[in-house]
């Protein structure tokens, strides 16, 4: 009898507590969070819904299309697509490994060792960031083509070879080109992770007689797991989505990837929106699996927290004389990976047409390409537009990501994992599909968005929120929750606590996400090509126009100008981040 009574009261207590926690949920802090969540859900789910609906119909929305499964039959009905998908996955994995290893190594050198010229290394890694992807890809062709590749020619004459040692038109060539062009993302992300790591943990490990390798595995690797995982996920998704290397190298090499198949299926006008959307479901599937995996592995957030607010001094490893060896290796990597392709771009920017470097060609050097770029009215407007949309989109995306990451990590609101997944899915939507969906949406919705920079900002935020979200999420996992609780005891203003405690602590990560998104707006073509309008062009549109109309040398000149610009921005960012980062102990 008494047992039954107890259970009854127990049940009542639980119910009452449920009501109570609900009422507590309705504070204005949760209101703010709800708005953030709603904005993100609106930004992502509406186009996603339109696309998924489109995969099941046979015409554009609003044209009285009828339901069909034909799109899936067309997209996935031939074995070609699966072979291409397999190529895509191996391409993304292998090039991702190259990017990750090199980027991670460079990050370690600049953040945790006393190797000289760290500032130079930092800038050198960031410099290729703004060079249009199509340019770096072509410059690798100019370096490694069996017929005109500079490295091949030099190697042949140096070693008396009768065959060129390298062939860019191969799977390896494709992997290398893309891999080396994407070292910046892992570099930035891992540098932020290294910077906010607690060396006492390492010290504790070295005391406890672990070998250095085991120590690296046990301590460093485990602690940086969320960052590593986030980096790999982003690299992988970028790898399966990219089109430049597969188009310029993969097609001549006869190696189709998934992106090539989409390109080939969709190059007829007008774009078969339904088929395009259907192809993107494969990306969607892969991405959702990736996020679920990531969330599962990083579930136990506290285990990874490293900014704990106790004796905390990022330590620099003294390499002794080894640092000159490390410096040499680093310079070699940068020479091959960054300097050589940039040198080709620089060389070409002074040429009337591309030819292999020679004394004869040097005498033909000209500033005509630079003059042409500066004479182009579109260049200034596109650059300014790009800066405005890029900065706005990066800022909005990062701020929204802070909100989302906070909800996911610090609250137990039901559905928060779903929110994370929803916010991450746009990364799976190919730019052309997303921009078509947005184009149609804002052409019909009576909002003054179409034809303004807002539609670009909306598209960029939607497409790039996944990037900032992963970066912010990984950074926030590293902040011990007691740091926030201590603030909660001090002030009831959630916003004040968020912006004076959490945000400054994850600022290095935020800056990385911000910078990366900003540079992507300078690089990604598929979105603005449809969404920018009269007076709202951005640079990638101009770059692609120049590429299409044969101005490779002018494009190179523009690449050089952009490189100088990004070098300045990178220098400033480093200054800011050094100022706000936790001051290193000596």
């Amino acid at each position: 009898m008494s047992q039954i009574a107890e259970i009854a009261t127990g049940g009542q207590i639980v119910r009452r507590a449920g009501l109570l926690s609900l009422s507590r949920r309705l504070t204005w802090r949760h209101g703010a969070l709800a708005i953030i969540a709603l904005v993100v859900v609106y930004l992502t789910l509406v186009p996603l819904g339109m696309i998924l609906y489109g995969t099941l119909t046979d015409g554009p929305p609003g044209t009285g299309a009828s339901f069909t499964l034909q799109n899936y039959v067309r997209a996935y009905g031939s074995p070609d697509i699966f072979r291409a998908a397999f190529n895509s996955v191996s391409f993304a994995v292998l090039s991702g490994i190259i990017s990750f290893i090199i980027g991670c190594y460079l990050a370690w050198v600049t953040e945790r060792t006393n190797t000289p010229f760290k500032g130079v290394i930092y800038i050198a890694v960031l410099v290729p960031f703004l060079v249009p992807g199509i340019l770096t890809t072509i410059s690798w062709v100019f370096l490694l083509s069996p017929n005109i590749g500079l490295i091949n020619k030099v190697a042949e004459s140096l070693f008396g070879l009768d065959k060129p040692p390298f062939n860019i038109y191969s799977f390896a060539g494709m992997v290398w080109t893309f891999g080396i062009d994407h070292i910046t993302l892992p570099f930035l992300l891992m540098a932020a992770a290294f910077r906010s790591m607690d060396p006492t943990l390492e010290e504790a490990a070295s005391i406890s007689s672990m070998g250095p390798l085991r120590q690296f595995y046990q301590i460093n690797l485990k602690i940086m797991f969320p960052s590593i995982l986030a980096t790999c996920l982003l690299l992988f998704v970028r790898g399966i989505e990219t089109f430049e290397a597969p188009a310029v190298i993969g097609i001549p090499a006869g190696i189709p990837v998934f992106a090539t198949e989409i390109f080939l299926a969709l190059r007829r006008a007008p774009t078969d929106y339904n088929l395009a959307g259907t192809y993107s479901t494969a990306y969607l599937l892969i991405t959702v699996i990736g996020v679920l995996l990531y969330l599962r592995v990083t579930r136990v957030a506290e285990k990874f927290a490293t900014i704990t607010g106790k004796a905390y001094r990022p330590r620099v490893i003294d390499l002794g004389t080894w640092r000159y060896g490390v410096l040499c290796l680093t310079m070699l990597v940068l020479f091959i990976g960054v300097f050589l392709p940039l040198a080709i771009v620089l060389w070409a920017s002074f040429m009337p047409f591309y030819a292999q470097p020679s004394w004869h060609m040097l005498s033909m050097a000209t500033f005509a390409n630079y003059v042409a770029v500066f004479e182009l009215d579109e260049f200034y407007r596109a650059f300014w537009n790009n800066l405005v949309t890029g900065v706005s989109a990066a800022t909005i995306a990062v701020l929204l990501s802070v909100g989302i990451a906070w909800i996911v990590i610090r609250t137990d609101i039901p559905g928060r994992k779903m929110l994370d997944i929803i916010a991450f899915t746009p990364i799976a939507l190919p730019g052309v599909v997303l921009s078509l969906a947005l184009l149609w949406l804002y052409l019909t919705v009576p909002l003054p968005v179409y034809g303004t920079l807002w539609i670009l900002i909306i598209a960029f935020v939607t497409k790039f929120i996944p990037i900032s979200l992963r970066v912010v999420h990984a950074s926030m996992l590293q902040v011990h929750k007691e740091l926030e609780e201590a603030a909660e005891l001090s002030s009831s203003s959630w916003l004040r606590n968020l912006f004076s405690i959490v945000v400054p602590l994850i600022l290095p990560g935020l800056l990385v996400g911000w910078l990366y998104i900003l540079t992507l707006t300078f690089k990604v073509l598929s979105i603005p090509i449809l969404l920018s309008h009269v007076g709202t062009e951005v640079l990638p549109v101009l770059i692609f126009s120049l590429y299409q109309s044969g101005g490779i040398t002018e494009l190179c000149a523009m690449g050089v100008i952009l490189t100088i610009f990004i070098a300045v921005v990178a220098g400033l960012t480093r200054l800011i981040s050094a100022r706000f980062a936790i001051k290193a102990g000596e």
């Binding site: 207590i13 109570l20 004796a311 007691e482 609780e485 909660e488 602590l505």
Partner: protein
């Protein structure tokens, strides 16, 4: 005064009971410690008082003000509870200077800039950290960081202090020093404090009262001396300090304050204990602290409470020798003066004064 009633909280959708009906009261100006192994619910209880955790049921009153009540739907924001808290990880904000750390809780309370600064400096003085104002927080040693955390807790004139295992990250020597520091500061300010630790020495040395917790429940509350010398539960006896526990039977029931109990290998005379609840033949447990066992290689020539045993092991620990001695089927742990020396296997005599036992119902 802190009063906690019927606090309960479950995790993992109701499957794990973190705390299960916790009640206690802390009198004004006292330090009250929740002591127990990890997972016993002590931290959840403390965090509930702080407002960082939302209990499913119960009521919490601070100086007559209800800050949490599940039945009345009250739950005050942590910052409104006027609490100073010291965290296990110190939670010093690493991007701020020492002074900024301490001043942060003072901001937004209608104080002028000068008032904030003078209050912060005052707090720093109390923890002997004058001159460290402009140091970046990460450039301090562990002990200094702990003191900054303390200063931050003091600065905003809290009604109560909460300590969440504040010393567990310090090395042994520093821990002892900080213990004294915290104790002295608390006495000086007279602030009612709730302290959580799994370290019994810390609990005994710092507290006015200790509550021993096990599996989400408080099993025993008392002054340190009572908890240690006369525990009323087997769990408290085992958890607080080292204890020899031996099953026994009461030989004489209700015979004043001296009773005789039978152990399997001998019989004992116990003094100063009330066994009114027991009658002859009841099964009891005899609790015997190792430091109360006298060991000698020759007989003490006492009639009562002298046993013979054989040394199984003796470990020299500086302050004392940790001896394990076989008496019949039992192994008795004893702490012996370091000047003694026993060979393993040597025959020894044990003697325990009749008043140095505790008895528990089995």
């Amino acid at each position: 005064m802190i009063s906690v009633q019927g606090l309960a909280k479950t995790y993992a959708g109701g499957n794990v009971r973190a705390i299960d009906g916790v009640d206690f009261q802390v009198e004004t100006g006292k330090i009250f410690t929740l002591l127990g192994p990890s997972g016993c619910g002590k931290t959840t209880s403390l965090r509930s008082v702080a407002g960082l955790e939302q209990p499913d049921a119960g009521e919490i009153n601070l100086f007559g003000e209800t800050v949490f009540s599940s039945t009345r739907g009250i739950s005050l924001h942590p910052s409104k509870r006027k609490i100073g808290m010291v965290f296990q990880s110190y939670a010093i904000w690493p991007h701020m200077t020492v002074l900024q750390n301490i001043a942060y809780p003072l901001k937004g309370k209608g104080l002028s800039r000068a008032q904030i600064e003078s209050k912060a400096r005052e707090a720093l003085r109390m923890v002997d950290l004058e001159g460290f104002e402009d140091r970046p927080a990460p450039k301090l040693s562990g002990g200094q960081q702990q003191r900054v955390a303390l200063a931050r807790a003091i600065a905003s004139d809290p009604r109560i202090f909460l300590f969440d295992e504040p010393l567990s990250n310090l090395d042994a020597k520093l821990r002892e020093e900080m213990r004294g520091h915290i104790r002295a500061l608390q006495r000086k300010l007279g602030i009612t404090s709730l302290y959580v630790t799994h370290d019994q020495v810390e609990a005994l040395s710092i507290s006015d009262f200790i509550a021993v917790m096990e599996k989400g429940k408080i099993v025993e509350v008392g002054a340190p001396r009572d908890i240690y010398l006369h525990p009323t539960s087997r769990f408290a006896a085992q958890f607080v300090g080292l204890t020899n526990i031996m099953p026994a039977k009461l030989r004489h029931g209700d015979a004043g304050d001296t009773v005789r109990v039978d152990l399997p290998f001998t019989s004992l005379l116990c003094q100063g204990l009330t066994t009114k609840a027991h009658s002859k033949g009841d099964s009891l447990m005899v609790l015997l602290r190792p430091e109360n066992v006298r060991v000698s290689s020759s007989s003490f020539n006492c009639e009562t409470n002298e046993w013979r045993g054989r040394v199984i092991s003796s470990i020299f620990l500086g302050e004392f020798i940790d001896c394990t001695i076989a008496c019949g089927d039992f192994q008795v742990r004893a702490r012996v003066n370091p000047f003694h020396q026993f060979e393993d296997g040597a025959e020894v005599y044990l003697h325990i004064a009749p008043e140095r036992f505790s008895l528990l119902t089995a």
